[in-house]
Subunit: 443 residues, 2 copies
């Protein structure tokens, strides 16, 4: 009865070291977002299929995992449920459903997996976590500034120093495209082309723009505007909406300078962001040589899609999977996350010593230590070998002699040092030694 | 375009207060299990359908959510993936797949949602969390003792005092049924009937047993054996396997008395546990008047189902959803989990004060406080009303006067007390006041 034992295509098993790294990042994100007054929300993995279909465009629709009806309906081949595809549509549904229970300014974070039947590729999976913050109910630039502050704070808490928060505004891009003579129906196409500037370069974007039916002169004018900020500013200043948008960006940046994002924020005229639903400021976190670690913006039309009511909103999505890859490559995890072994392996000297050894393990755990008990009174050599494979920091031996003397023998597996410690002070001793790993075991 | 906004049938949205309670319990479970040397594992929500089918019996098969093939195959109505139904089958698959990377004694915990297309009922949902620990690779009674210790430690860390860990052994039940004259092919049926003793009472079980073809004399003998331990012991002592099992239970209980489970463990002859795969000791956590909060046991045949190899294993599953219900009913959550409001609401006095107010918010957050900034310079009355709705503990006011004097006005929303505090010491002050909530704001 041999069976396939790999996870399904595009899915991953997370072994203990993987989970620890993921959990570390998620815990930091949670802690920082909580400090900013964002509150946790969780929605079900399965949604009624009507909730999701028609929300992600034709391409998106194809990538939604659909769940067969149960019972009688199963043979019909009909789907009535679908797996969560992003965290924004469920948020919009929740806001419409629970409006009365939610505060006027609802600031939520949500860290949950989503599923997309995308073609698997390096770094692209069919199950992956999204990590979203959204602030609903206010159109004040304080919202954008706070959001930029929060994501900057998260990145700094994770150890990133070399990131830049790029800021732009959809209305500025519209004003620029108008001034460059791009017809309104082509604006969406133009933004998709411009969004690739960092990837494909100036010539690539020019080719793409003209291929999409934009004149050479308009394409040149757009690309020139991205070369320097004053040129861009002159182009957009002609339009009242452009001028208002520029003022909004200036305000957001000025406010962000009063937060932990200070020194990291930059006005970036070429920033376009792919998604069509943004209506105001747009933002992206970029690292030189790495690319984007997340992005977001203001979208005042989307949240109301379930309630009909127009509700202002601004959101940011951190690329959790990307952040994990970069942190792993750069070795940014603290030692306690990387070294996964137990603090102490408690050996079993003989059958008679088992209850007392369990008592010792209990005391060490009471002191907050991670303790594994070897399950059998095997030969000590075998137990030590296991301790070494498990990467345990300390090993305890509690034989008849030790018990008689009220002591425990402790071996530091890093230094090889071994010492007899009074039974009462073992926990305290190991804790102190772990905090100063180079210090001696001797009292 | 009004749409249904409720979650799908049998699914739940978790609003911030719900998530906080769930997260609190999960964090405690994680922390304690880590101390016992259990390591985190996560598996994908979607498994290949062959991985799950045929593992849960005919009833279970019907409750599995099946996912339609994508692309061309979608119209065939065929399913190729299925949603995780429990955490044990994925564990068995992972052990077979990653055996070489896992330690000889693999102790893992896993806290993830599972999905079952069960009829929704009070307290029964179609998406719910399981919270499993399993220790793989050893048949030592130390494993059971450590598992009993770990779950007892978790329950005590959550504030439970009145729980009992019931212990029994499958081989003991077999020996008892043999001694009572129940034919071997009826043992499975008999266990299902006996498992309901606490629910339906002695007469109910007697009726059920005889309805299943067990003689009145045998049924009487079984039920009498559950009345007192010495009677049970006499009945099983005749069989060598019964005697060995009794010795194993005695050993497990003796070892568990050397752990935080001391005083909570009891030998419970009537404990049967519904699942068919147990082969050794079985355990259940019960609270008088509440019922079961989880259970487990030794199952030496299950883990090998993917690798073919027989691997000893022992597991325990905590009923997370049940624990949450009981803790909510009993008011067992610490105040910081129940009171969800921000520590501080920072008001915006006027436009000019916004950057300085954001700086203040940053300092308070740096000190670890949860801080919400009101996004507009609305009338203060309106901002205070919002602070009150949000259940904020403190509100800050930073107007022109305060800025000129290098001060911040702070109002304690619990006591109504208001005071001007030197700007430099606001964070320190609020932190200290929060730790001693009845103390005065005055320095």
């Amino acid at each position: 009865m041999a069976q396939h034992t790999q996870p399904a295509r595009g899915m991953r098993d997370f072994l203990p070291d993987d989970v620890r790294r993921r959990q570390y990042v998620i815990d930091v994100v949670r802690r920082i977002y909580e400090r900013y007054g964002f509150e946790p929300l969780e929605t079900p993995a399965l949604e009624n299929i009507e909730t999701l279909t028609g929300k992600y465009g034709e391409e998106g629709n194809k990538l939604i995992y659909k769940v067969l009806r149960r019972g009688e309906g199963e043979s019909s081949g009909e789907a009535d449920l679908a797996l969560r595809y992003d965290l924004t549509v469920p948020l919009a549904r929740v806001v419409a459903e629970h409006r009365g229970k939610l505060p006027k300014f609802f600031k939520r974070y949500q860290i949950q997996p989503v599923w997309r039947a995308d073609r698997p590729a390096r770094g692209r999976f069919r199950e992956f976590y999204q990590c979203d913050v959204d602030a609903i109910g206010s159109s004040s630039p304080v919202v954008e500034a706070e959001m930029i502050a929060a994501v900057s704070d998260v990145l700094q808490a994770l150890g990133f120093r070399d990131f830049v928060v790029q800021v732009n505004h959809r209305e500025l891009l519209t004003a620029m495209l108008e001034a460059a003579g791009v017809d309104a129906p082509l604006h969406g196409d133009a933004l998709i082309a411009i969004d690739k500037l960092d990837k494909v370069g100036r010539d690539g974007v020019h080719t793409d723009l003209t291929a999409r039916g934009i004149s050479d002169a308009s394409a040149q004018a757009c690309l020139a505007a991205f070369e320097d900020v004053p040129a861009f500013d002159r182009l957009v200043a002609a339009s009242p909406r452009g001028a208002a948008a520029r003022e909004n960006v200036t305000k957001i940046m000025e406010l962000a300078e009063a937060t932990p994002a200070a020194g990291h924020v930059t006005f970036t005229p070429r920033l376009a962001r792919g998604l069509s639903y943004y209506t105001g400021a747009i933002m992206e976190i970029a690292i030189e040589g790495i690319g984007s670690l997340g992005g977001g913006g203001r979208y005042d039309g989307l949240i109301g899609m379930f309630s009909g009511e127009q509700i202002p909103a601004c959101g940011f999505s951190l690329g959790l999977e990307r952040i994990l890859v970069v942190m792993t490559e750069r070795g940014m995890f603290p030692p306690e996350v990387q070294a996964s072994g137990p603090d102490v392996l408690v050996t079993l000297f003989d059958e008679a010593s088992v209850p007392e050894s369990l008592r010792l393990a209990g005391e060490l755990r009471q002191a907050g230590l991670r303790v594994e008990v070897y399950p059998d009174a095997d030969k000590l050599g075998k137990q030590f070998k296991y301790a070494s494979v498990r990467n345990a920091t300390y090993v305890t031996i509690l034989g008849g002699d030790e018990r008689a003397r009220g002591e425990v023998t402790i071996k530091n597996m890093r230094t090889g040092e071994q010492a007899a410690i009074s039974r009462d002070s073992v926990a305290q001793h190991v804790r102190a030694s772990l905090q100063a790993p180079t210090s001696s075991l001797q009292e």
